[in-house]
């Protein structure tokens, strides 16, 4: 069981603003359900909603080419669906991209039984995508760390959201 403060969408958005994020390209998931309400009223960050997660990385690549600072917000299931886009339009082109991933099935204590949670970290590791875990507001600074690292290494870096936002 996670102790300490909850994870608030407002805190995540604060961190995204610190990073200079201009666009969040996303598909809603259960972990991110409070993000929509927060982001829809946010003037400095535009939401770009997609029909399928594989679109997100390609749209983000286009935004970056056009001079913007996008990030992607999808669930781990959607990350798995997006494999070829992440390979071809993030890793291969050296895109400095923050990918925020809803960690469906994650448990700090006890057996993880959801295959979406079981496979996501090994796959990120296999692809050389560094990842950070965020479970509470106290961890939210990991978003800025990941964003900075994405730019320094010119690679996608992931933040796994291990708890539903409030």
């Amino acid at each position: 069981m996670v102790t300490g403060s909850a994870l608030k969408a407002k805190r995540i958005v604060e961190e995204l603003k610190k990073c200079g994020i201009t666009h969040v390209v996303w598909l809603p998931d259960t972990e991110a359900r409070f993000m929509y309400d927060t982001l829809i009223n946010e003037k400095d960050i535009k939401l770009v909603q997609v029909c399928r997660e594989g679109e997100t990385v390609a749209i983000a690549a286009g935004l970056y080419v056009g001079g913007k600072e996008p990030c992607v917000l999808i669930q781990n299931t959607g990350f798995l669906e997006s494999g070829d886009s992440i390979r071809g339009l993030a890793i291969d082109i050296h895109l400095p991209l923050l990918i925020i991933i809803g960690y469906r099935g994650w448990k700090r204590v006890g057996n993880i039984t959801d295959s979406a949670a079981i496979y996501i970290e090994p796959i990120l590791d296999a692809w050389g995508i560094k990842h950070y875990l965020v479970e509470t507001d106290a961890d939210a600074h990991n978003i800025s760390i990941a964003h900075k690292e994405a730019h320094e290494t010119k690679r996608p870096v992931a933040v796994l959201i291990g708890r539903e936002y409030q």
Partner: protein
């Protein structure tokens, strides 16, 4: 049916300073046509995502027209992007689809559903402001001027023939090189400098 190279040439005659995202066979044809390579964005891998990549560029560059030269097999792989694009309602977006009914790159196998669906109708139903379909070169040429002037998103289905025997040139610019180059080019253009490098 329009010979696909002739369709690409007709589009090329109208292209001035638009960004052209291109992929698959349409991208190979565009190599023979383009007169502004510095404003071309070839997507050589990651089949199906040209429309999404172009949407990102169009969102970031609202004052510049963005053209995507897509393939039918590619778009079928990313059909939801029609709704995503229409939802953004960008006036600066033109989506050409070269419908040759085959996967040319893999040797000419038919795409699914040949003759049973209609791309222009799909685009219209998805919410594109305008959707055209052309199966003869003259009609395409007559309408291209208007298409370039239309407030988008605009969809243009080109019913084309493609020879599987063609030996078209391979892209000399990889996507991984073209993307950062384009970012720099657009930065320079924004600051008023020349795009030619």
């Amino acid at each position: 049916m329009i010979v696909d190279l002739e369709a690409a040439m007709a589009i090329g005659e109208h292209r001035t300073d638009e960004i052209v995202v291109n992929t698959m066979r349409a991208g190979r044809l565009w190599i023979l046509v383009s007169n502004r390579v510095e404003l071309d964005l070839p997507l050589t891998g990651c089949m199906s995502k040209a429309s999404s990549l172009a949407l990102g560029v169009a969102l970031a560059q609202p004052h510049r027209k963005v053209i995507v030269m897509d393939g039918d097999g590619s778009l079928l792989m990313n059909l939801g992007s029609l709704v995503t694009i229409a939802n953004q309602a960008l006036p600066n977006f033109i989506h050409f689809v070269f419908e040759n009914d085959i996967y040319w790159v893999t040797g000419g196998q038919p795409v699914p559903g040949v003759g049973k669906f209609n791309f222009a109708a799909l685009a219209r139903a998805a919410g594109y402001r305008k959707a055209y379909e052309f199966d003869d070169l003259e009609s395409l040429k007559i309408n291209l001027g208007q298409i370039f002037q239309d407030k988008g998103p605009t969809f243009v289905c080109l019913k084309v023939s493609s020879s599987v025997e063609d030996r078209l040139p391979y892209p000399t610019r990889k996507t991984e090189d073209a993307l950062p180059e384009m970012r720099e080019t657009l930065k320079k253009l924004s600051s008023g400098a020349s795009a030619k490098t």
